[in-house]
């Protein structure tokens, strides 16, 4: 099978003692440990790996690394796998992407017939008319041609993605010689270091170098791996740099997760990604058999793969020259070496399925199956761009260089300049030292400022100037495009002709051209394409490259899987101390915000009726509870509630409503006075956190002189509402030394006491259900005991638990509104019917000016009780109330249920004030379009509006 596998190479990565079996488009192949998918296939003689996006031309190996645009494949359920860098695993099922029915016979090639319509910006010009075909035809057809693999989201099996946080002093992006040297010197300076390399092993270009390079690599790698201060992450990639040196790393080399997102807060970031070799633009440059010099060198030296038989090499630099030597050592016949430095050129490559001949600039046609180009490099400055840099073009070196960087971002290695391995490592070491010094100064300052850390024992490291000797910029010819046209962007199938056309149409700024043609917008994000695109634009505008500017590279540096971004998903849920009991006793759960709650235990209507007739108990723990202490609590309550609080007596409870600064109702609840300077406030379940924050905000900013301590106690007190005409009798069996009679414990009172032997319970007599009821707040560690005691001691009274749905029915019968359901983000106090509660003559209350204004208005909606005239019709909540004739919206139903007590439908609704008088007939538009009439009631309450039942 391995017809192109060479004899052992000194730096090869493969372990020939292993044999890994895998399939490619259904055929079985084998490779070795250390092979990439592409190298194993190439060794087996595979030449075509994919098809071009638009024209579906055959594509072979171009760069043989992570950035190869022609090597995106599907591996099992995982799409868009980089076959140029993904290591082979036994049993892999690899298939080509975006081809149909097969890679060999792909019907997409028919696109070539309409190729002239697929030029730059074709999608802005086509598929416009007739408009109705967009959904019916165009969209469906275009979807078929969408590039990329497939996610089998219903049946796919994958591991759980993961994430972690890290705080290294220094993070080095790039594990080449300069990056490794930087990591070592930073660690030696005392910094904690994270070294990130996108390939599965360290070394960068040293890996495919000669014996000298391999010796340096071995020394550096050994030193790095043995240094405990360096965490090495190979097969990982730095995908973005954000504010304050927040750096994202996607780690693929972790044993427990397919990918792990590392969120690193970094002291200093060293950017050392090396250089990316760029393709040359000429006719036929996308034919299989056209490869970059680096690709050839990697195939030969890392994976012992013979890339062809007869080669033509176009070389403008030492990498091309080295490729010639590598090819010869691999037994490839080098037909011709064209020296681009001397003006020699390639104008075309031809062949069916693979290169068979090469046309040179001087008119020769050379028979060859391999054309190797070495025409320069792109500096992948993405991470520097993300730090605010705008790299500058240097025509002498024919590439871009960093311009100005913040102190906490440094560049080294090829991105910063040229040099021998010794010079690159020396620069790396200096950069590492500088980065460490800056990071350690920052850490020293953080330790000084962070209360939890111990003060540093020593002074901060001295500030040292950046005295690094800059790496030189070696001259390199500007060779971007031949005299013919070819592809600039291999991912997007954008040619130099397309770019020139776009410039001619007026899209002649690099940013506009990018968006119009999609050049540089493929998976490589411009690593291979940016410089060539700028060069073609400069050529078409007849200006210097430096005047073209660059596109802005944004995160991610390399495509990131959605799984990695999602990471391990945390969705906190809250459970009361009784939730286990609810679930064990048949409760159907409801997720209310973060709380898991029992919606019902089988029949909400039966549960509600039992409360009206006997006694029920409900777990209302999510009710927000705040312990308020201090001599100024009454002042605070006066400030945040719309009513008065100065005269609330110890042992009494009062209802209060809050409005925001704009007068909109924001929360409500009851607050009881437990002692002179001790209160317990309740809030809505969903508003607990916001109210706590609001109280602290006002105390800390507006009235820091007030002595009030606020402590949230929501989860610490399990709240049990005992409701129904027999609730007094039931609770009376469990309390100690507490008189529950109406005289001793009247409505809206609070007592502390012992319930079923549990001390420190707080009991208040209030009634959300409209029945005689007691709310018992029990220390949560003993709540189950109290709950079970209530059930055990009330069986003869008909006690039964009831859930949230029954409670909603009961409160609607009673006409109690719920903030956020019966009010909305515009509902001011008059709408909610708080006219009797609001005291506009108070000295201060949050939202007071708006309240005063609101009560002068006559146009605000009014919350009313409403009963459909047809008693079996229950309008859905949010159904609109409309004019009897026409479609004018005059309100909406905010709550609706069938009342088990009245045996009819009941509602609360917000209506236009003209409809608010009792007896007014309104029209409700149902979800199915029917219209029904309903009558406005005199009260919000449908049951016992006088409150007789709860005041007994």
């Amino acid at each position: 099978m391995s017809i192109h596998r060479l004899p052992i190479r000194s730096g090869e990565l493969i372990d020939r003692s292993t044999n890994l079996s895998f399939t490619w488009n259904g055929r079985t192949f084998s490779g070795h440990e250390g092979d990439t998918i592409a190298s194993a296939l190439a060794a087996a003689g595979v030449e075509v790996f994919s098809r071009g996006m638009k024209y579906h031309r055959r594509r072979g190996i171009l760069t043989a690394n992570h950035w190869d645009p022609n090597l995106a494949v599907q591996v099992g359920d995982e799409p868009n796998v980089r076959a140029g860098s993904r290591r082979l695993v036994d049993g892999m099922e690899v298939t080509a992407q975006n081809v149909w029915p097969s890679l060999r016979w792909d019907l997409g090639t028919a696109n070539r017939l309409v190729g002239r319509f697929l030029s730059a910006g074709f999608y802005y010009k086509t598929f416009m008319r007739p408009q109705f075909l967009w959904h019916n035809l165009y969209q469906r057809v275009l979807r078929k041609f969408a590039p990329g693999g497939r996610v089998h989201w219903k049946t796919g099996v994958h591991g759980e993605y993961d994430k972690r946080y890290a705080h290294p002093d220094v993070l080095v992006a790039g594990g080449g010689p300069a990056g490794m040297a930087a990591a070592l010197s930073a660690a030696e300076a005392g910094a904690s270091v994270m070294l990130v390399e996108q390939e599965p092993e360290l070394g960068g270009h040293l890996r495919w170098g000669g014996p000298g390079d391999l010796a340096v690599l071995a020394d550096l790698s050994r030193a790095v791996h043995s240094n405990p201060g360096i965490e090495v992450l190979c097969d990982s990639i730095v995908t973005g740099r954000y504010d304050h040196n927040w750096v994202a790393v996607v780690q693929r080399s972790h044993p427990v997760a397919p990918e792990r997102l590392i969120k690193a807060r970094v002291g200093s970031l060293i950017v050392a990604p090396g250089l990316v070799e760029r393709p040359y633009v000429f006719a036929g440059n996308d034919l299989p058999g056209v490869m970059l010099a680096g690709a050839v060198r990697r195939l030969v030296n890392l994976w012992a793969v013979k890339p062809g038989s007869r080669a033509v090499v176009l070389s403008a630099n030492s990498e091309g020259d080295a490729a010639v030597a590598d090819l010869e050592s691999a037994g490839v016949e080098v037909v011709a070496v064209l020296d681009a430095r001397a003006g020699e050129d390639v104008v075309g490559a031809r062949g069916r399925g693979r290169v068979s001949s090469v046309q040179t600039g001087d008119g020769r046609t050379l028979r060859a199956d391999l054309l190797v180009t070495a025409t320069g490099w792109t500096a992948p400055t993405s991470l520097l761009n993300m730090a605010g840099d705008r790299p500058l073009y240097d025509r002498t070196a024919a590439r871009y260089f960093p311009q100005s960087l913040p102190d906490n971002v440094l560049a080294t290695g090829g991105i910063a300049g040229d040099g021998s391995t010794t010079e690159l490592t020396a620069h790396g070491r200096e950069t590492g030292s500088l980065a460490a010094q800056r990071a350690l100064r920052l850490r020293h300052a953080r330790r000084t400022q962070t209360p939890r850390s111990l003060p540093p024992e020593s002074d901060p490291p001295d500030e040292i100037a950046d005295n690094r000797i800059p790496l030189r910029r070696s001259p390199h010819p500007e060779r971007y495009r031949s005299t013919t046209h070819g592809l600039v962007d291999f991912s997007e199938d954008v040619s130099s002709k397309d770019l020139i056309q776009a410039a001619g149409e007026g899209f002649d700024s690099i940013e506009l051209m990018k968006r119009y043609t999609t050049v540089t917008m493929g998976p490589g994000q411009g690593k291979l394409e940016t410089v060539n695109a700028a060069a073609v634009l400069a050529e078409s505008r007849a200006v210097e490259m430096a005047d073209i500017g660059t596109t802005v590279w944004r995160p991610p540096f390399s495509p990131v899987s959605l799984g990695a971004l999602a990471g391990r998903i945390f969705e906190p849920v809250r459970r009361s101390a009784l939730q286990g009991w609810h679930e064990a006793n048949g409760a159907t759960n409801l997720l209310a915000g973060q709380w898991v709650r029992p919606d019902h235990y089988g029949s909400p209507m039966t549960e509600a009726s039992n409360v009206r007739e006997n006694v029920g108990i409900i777990d209302v723990t999510p009710l927000g509870k705040l312990d308020l202490r201090g001599p100024d609590v009454a002042n605070l309550l006066d400030l945040v509630y719309v009513n008065r609080w100065q005269k609330l007596e110890v042992g009494r409870v009062r209802y209060g409503a809050m409005v925001a600064e704009d007068g909109v109702v924001s929360d409500d609840g009851v607050t009881g006075r437990l002692a002179d300077n001790h209160y317990l406030m309740t809030t809505t379940s969903s508003g607990a956190g916001a109210v706590w924050e609001m109280l602290e905000d006002w105390l800390q900013t507006y009235r820091p002189d007030w002595e009030v301590h606020v402590t949230p106690v929501t989860g610490g007190l399990t709240s049990i509402n005992v409701a129904g005409p027999r609730s007094r009798e039931l609770l009376g069996r469990l309390v100690e030394d507490l008189d529950l009679s109406a005289d001793a414990f009247p409505y809206f009172s609070v007592r502390k006491g012992i319930v079923s032997g549990v001390e420190d319970c707080i009991i208040w007599r209030i009634g959300f259900t409209g029945e005689l009821s007691y709310e018992v707040h029990v220390p949560s560690g003993h709540a189950l005991h109290v709950w079970e005691s209530l059930l055990a001691n009330g069986s003869d009274l008909g006690v039964a638990p009831f859930g949230v749905e029954a409670q909603r029915v009961l409160r609607l019968e009673k006409g109690h509104y719920i903030v956020g359901q019966d009010t909305d983000g515009l509902s001011k106090a008059p709408t909610a019917g708080l006219g009797g509660l609001v005291k506009l003559d108070k000295a201060d209350t949050i939202g007071l000016p708006e309240l005063r204004a609101a009560f002068e208005r006559t146009d605000l909606p009014v919350l009313v009780g409403l009963q459909p005239d047809e008693p079996t019709v229950v309008p859905d909540e949010a159904c609109q109330i409309v004019a009897a004739e026409g479609n004018e919206i005059l309100g909406r139903v905010t709550s609706s249920r069938m009342s088990p007590t009245l045996k009819r439908s009941i509602c609360l609704a917000q209506v236009d004030p003209s409809l608010a008088p009792a007896g007014t007939s309104v029209t409700i538009q149902l979800v199915d379009g029917r219209r029904v009439s309903a009558t406005v009631q005199e009260h919000h309450a449908h049951v016992d509006p006088e409150g007789v039942r709860q005041r007994v």
């Binding site: 939890r452 998903i569 945390f570 009361s576 101390a577 202490r629 220390p779 560690g781």
Partner: protein, 191 residues
């Protein structure tokens, strides 16, 4: 009062790696008392701990400087009333027994820093967060108070959160521990 068992929000027993090198255990029954006082009060002076740090008292109480002007006292179960009574009450001082309101776990072992790094974004390096450090942060998206309280010269953290999150957070912590060799029991899942 009856001798009632404290019902923890965590239903699982202690979890540990086979070699005991990493362990996660429920400590919710521990006494927890919250003290809020101005720095110039007798209570503030009595506690002698600055914000962000903690110290062990001879009686076994761990005094934590939770926030400026706020301390949390952690002790063995059943000592709430004793601790509340022990604090000077001159000046404006609030003492609240929050034993029932907070779930608490102890995470111990050399790998505990790795476990926390999966769920918490605080820098836990020894110099930034040494033994005795008290801090607050998000742990698996739940607001928590943490104390580094090393045991037997080994790294150990006390992690507490609002009680109702306790079951979820214990499961999330156990899930994070799995990578380091803790076998997570069936039914203790966050997914």
């Amino acid at each position: 009062m009856y001798d009632l068992e404290f019902l923890s929000p965590v239903s699982s027993g202690p979890l540990s790696t086979p070699d005991g090198g990493l362990s996660l255990e429920d400590a919710s029954a521990s006494t927890k008392v919250l003290v809020r006082a101005a720095r110039n009060t007798a209570a503030g002076a009595h506690l002698k701990v600055t914000y962000g740090r903690s110290r062990h008292r001879r009686d076994g109480t761990l005094i934590c400087g939770s926030r400026p002007g706020e301390w949390t006292l952690l002790a063995d179960p059943g000592r709430g009333a004793e601790l509340v009574a022990s604090l000077p009450d001159e000046g404006f001082v609030s003492v609240v027994d929050i034993t029932h309101g907070r779930a608490m776990f102890r995470l111990s072992g050399a790998d505990s820093i790795g476990v926390l790094a999966k769920v918490c974004n605080i820098d836990l390096a020894d110099d930034m967060t040494p033994d005795g450090a008290v801090f607050s942060g998000s742990v698996a998206k739940v607001t928590c108070d943490l104390v580094r309280d090393d045991r037997d010269a080994g790294r150990s953290y006390l992690i507490s959160c609002e009680r109702s999150f306790g079951g979820y957070l214990f499961a999330a912590m156990a899930d994070a521990c799995a990578e380091f060799g803790i076998n997570v029991p069936a039914g203790l899942s966050v997914h």
